[in-house]
């Protein structure tokens, strides 16, 4: 049996066969003339709403048992007629109860889904001193409402797709019609359509499918937890994706420079924004290169140190039993372990852990002669520097380790070659036909105004050229 039949018992039985789980419940009731059955998934259906909007009005139903008549009595704002049993089953599993009645080969699905939401809060990964503090939550509808609130225009398109054979996770594809490049929207749709995976627990699962080089270390899809950033990106001509169950929204096309821009940069004077962007870049470069150059200089070219610093270093490394590269790797490993443990541990233990880790371990390791003070200082500075660009931590921490390994084996020239390799890889990476390293390569003069340097808003009348938006001007 593929469709709803006029025999209520048969349809109910068929649905039960399709959905044999114990939490799929049926509720049968009668009005004056008609017998009804409600089939719903217990954990995801708001039963109070179901009673209020569906069962109570229908129990007083006295009209002809036709879909239009029945529908007129249901007070839920969301409902639709469904004939196919498969579709009906999917709706029930999504939390939308099905109403069946005797003598009708159609069912009505009502939108009385139970919504589990936490309060909208400021995301811990993207805190701003100035500017909006709202963050996305796990509920897609709440997230789309946060976006809709910022765009009171019909140009905002929110298309919903389902991804995941079993999870059937809803994904909202958001874009501004006429501003986002049509080809990018089509490509996003096509890529989502091609995904064949059983479940999608988080938006990060989709990044793999949206990337042109899915096995690459380089990030190719933008992420944000803040609706104001998301909307700003849509306004620039990007396409955004919100995944039900994930507070992290995705945006494409992605440019590497995006992660050096914070939302606050747009709410402070441009010279301050430029300074902080340069600071982030400097911190990141220091975080990646400082441990590597320290090791390379110690192992292969002591001339790199000023004489007095060299004497200080020589004094502190004199009794260290490990080679410079091994010493640095050990300290780096301890830092990574501390970092990992402090994130996973309960907050009250975390405090004690930082005392034990930073003070006791660090202090005693130095006084016991296992590691030198410069090594601890360098790794600590590097560790802090990495967090200046929090969205790139996964990539930069691996790069830092790779630089350290290369420095320990082939020294400074190895670092230079690895840098050259990274440059080459970055400039040749494209996603959604957009070069990742733009506006630096290919060089796009106008787009440089909002890159490492931030111009005044009045000097940014057009959208980023690299995004090829059909609607070029944003400031009239």
């Amino acid at each position: 049996m593929k469709n709803v039949s006029k025999d209520l018992a048969k349809t109910t039985e068929a649905l039960k066969k399709l959905l044999p789980a114990e939490d799929i419940l049926t509720f049968s009731f009668r009005s004056e003339k008609t017998a009804f059955t409600c089939v719903f998934a217990d954990p995801v259906t708001d039963k109070e709403l179901l009673g209020e909007q569906v069962i109570r009005p229908l129990s007083r139903f006295a009209g002809e048992p036709k879909a239009e008549e029945v529908g007129r009595h249901i007070t839920s704002p969301e409902m639709k007629k469904v004939r196919a049993l498969d579709e009906l089953a999917q709706e029930i599993l999504a939390g939308n109860p099905a109403v069946l009645w005797e003598g009708m080969d159609e069912a009505i699905v009502t939108g009385t889904k139970k919504v589990f939401t936490r309060a909208i809060a400021e995301p811990s990964t993207d805190v701003a001193v100035k500017g909006p503090r709202e963050g996305f939550i796990e509920d897609m509808k709440t997230n789309t409402s946060l976006i809709r609130r910022r765009f009171k225009t019909g140009e905002l398109r929110i298309e919903t797709a389902e991804v995941g054979r079993r999870s059937r996770t809803s994904v909202a594809v958001c874009y501004l019609d006429g501003t986002a490049e049509r080809e990018v929207v089509d490509e996003v749709r096509a890529k989502l359509g091609e995904i064949d995976i059983d479940i999608v627990p988080d938006s990060s699962y989709l990044t793999h499918f949206l990337s042109s080089r899915p096995y690459s270390l380089v990030k190719q899809v933008g992420t944000t937890e803040k609706p104001d950033i998301f909307c700003a990106k849509l306004a620039e001509g990007r396409v955004g994706l919100i995944v039900d169950g994930s507070p992290i929204a995705l945006t494409v096309p992605y440019l590497l420079i995006e992660d050096f821009q914070s939302s606050e940069d747009y709410f402070v004077p441009p010279y301050r924004a430029t300074f902080t962007r340069l600071l982030r870049l400097f911190a990141l470069l220091v975080a990646i290169y400082l441990p590597a150059f320290y090791v390379a200089a110690q192992l292969f070219k002591l001339q790199l140190f000023p004489v007095r610093l060299l004497l200080t270093i020589a004094g502190s490394i004199r009794d260290i039993p490990f080679s410079p590269s091994l010493e640095m790797l050990l300290v780096l490993l301890v830092l990574e372990v501390l970092n990992e443990a402090s994130i996973r541990m309960p907050k009250y233990v975390g405090m004690a852990l930082s005392v034990v880790g930073a003070l006791v371990l660090g202090e005693t390791a130095v006084s016991a002669g296992f590691v030198s003070t410069p090594a601890i200082i360098i790794i600590a500075f590097s560790g802090i520097g990495l967090y200046a660009v929090p969205n790139l931590i996964e990539q930069t921490s691996v790069l830092r380790l790779a630089m350290l390994l290369v420095a320990g084996s082939v020294g400074t020239y190895g670092i230079i070659l690895l840098t050259a390799f990274c440059f080459l890889y970055l400039v040749t990476t494209e996603n959604f036909r957009t070069p990742l390293f733009a506006p630096f390569s290919p060089l796009i003069g106008k787009d440089l105004r909002d890159s490492v340097i931030k111009y005044n808003l009045g000097s940014l009348p057009t959208r980023p050229k690299v995004l090829k938006s059909p609607n070029k001007r944003r400031l009239k």
């Binding site: 292969f300 001339q303 004489v307 230079i416 050259a420 440059f423 080459l424 040749t428 390569s441």
Partner: protein, 355 residues
């Protein structure tokens, strides 16, 4: 990504090409031309600028070098010429490569053998050369500011300690002028490097003039560096190999800050890594085009050429002096043939516009 924009080409000519001339060449020029070292270099730069102009005139027709040869001489002759040209590029790659190997050993290492230190370069070259030649365009976008910063840093730290009066009187080194001219020929093959780029460069009006002016601007910086170099070292310049790593080390701040100039040297070394790989890349492109652009061919060729150069660098590990002697002596005639005659004669090729 498969096209080179005029801007990217200008960046190469103005910022990347001069970097290859400041490593070993200044000491070699000083050996023969003494305080007149900038004159033979200037002659080479002028000749190359003229040839760059000639090659860039061919950009308008939109055809590759191989297609131009094929249209004029037919398939077989074109294949022979392009293979000979590719062979020359591989040969031309050898000197900068060995030069850089020696530079890496003496500048970056106190203890490590150069072969160990320099070997990763061949992995990098193999990876780089497997990419389409036009991909270089984007690299030049990034390298240009790095090269400018590196060169500006080195020059700024050097000018204070340079005595430009050492360049006077002009004409003191005229006896060695032709010897210097002959020796320096091995470092000037920029116009030949442009030939494999033909057909991949986007045309814009005045590209030949603009390109030539950019090349001359880069040449002016290189000549200024030569003057500064001689100003710093004067008569002892002959022994100062790897010039750009040494001119700035007398900057007074260095005694307090350490070799701060190394930051700029690293920047220039990064640019040089790409510059050294470019003849190999051009060679891969020539052979690939002559043999029908099969998808696996660039990877295969780049690995093969990198392996050949690696083997040569192993075999010639302690024979740089002999190689230099041969390349700047008995074999020096190869350079004018391929870097002067071929680019100049390419103007005579049939230039029907690409369909």
């Amino acid at each position: 990504m498969n096209r080179i924009s005029p801007r990217q080409l200008f960046f190469f000519l103005a910022c990347v090409a001069p970097v290859g001339k400041i490593v070993l060449l200044p000491a070699r020029l000083a050996e023969f031309a003494k305080n007149d070292l900038i004159f033979p270099a200037a002659v080479h730069f002028l000749v190359q600028a003229l040839l760059v102009f000639c090659v860039l005139l061919l950009v308008k027709c939109g055809k590759s070098f191989y297609e131009l040869l094929e249209d004029t001489f037919g398939k077989i002759a074109a294949k022979i010429v392009i293979c000979l040209f590719a062979l020359f590029l591989l040969f031309a790659a050898l000197l900068p490569l060995l030069e850089q190997k020696l530079f890496v050993q003496s500048v970056f290492y106190d203890t490590l053998p150069s072969l160990v230190a320099f070997s990763p370069f061949f992995l990098f070259a193999a990876f780089l050369c497997a990419k389409p030649l036009a991909g270089f365009g984007r690299v030049w976008d990034v390298l240009a500011p790095i090269a400018i910063a590196g060169m500006a840093g080195v020059l700024l730290l050097s000018v204070g300690s340079a005595d430009y009066a050492a360049l006077l009187p002009v004409g003191a080194g005229k006896a060695g002028f032709f010897e210097a001219l002959r020796t320096a020929a091995s470092w000037f093959f920029d116009s030949a490097l442009l030939l494999p780029l033909l057909g991949k460069i986007d045309y814009e009006k005045g590209i030949a003039w603009k390109g030539t002016l950019c090349y001359l601007a880069g040449a002016a910086v290189a000549l200024f560096f030569l003057a500064t170099f001689y100003g710093v070292f004067a008569e002892t310049s002959v022994n100062q190999l790897f010039a750009f790593t040494k001119t700035s080390k007398y900057f007074s701040g260095i005694t307090v800050l350490g070799r701060i100039d190394y930051l700029f040297i690293f920047a220039l070394a990064l640019v040089m890594a790409f510059y050294c790989a470019m003849p190999v890349q051009a060679c891969v492109e020539c052979v690939n085009e002559a043999f029908g652009r099969r998808p696996y061919l660039p990877t295969l060729l780049s690995v093969a050429f990198a392996a050949i150069l690696f083997t040569l660098s192993v075999l010639l590990d302690y024979r740089f002096g002999e190689v230099l002697f041969a390349v700047t002596g008995a074999l020096v005639w190869v350079y004018p043939v391929f870097t002067v005659l071929v680019p100049a004669l390419s103007l005579l090729l049939r230039r029907d516009h690409a369909k």
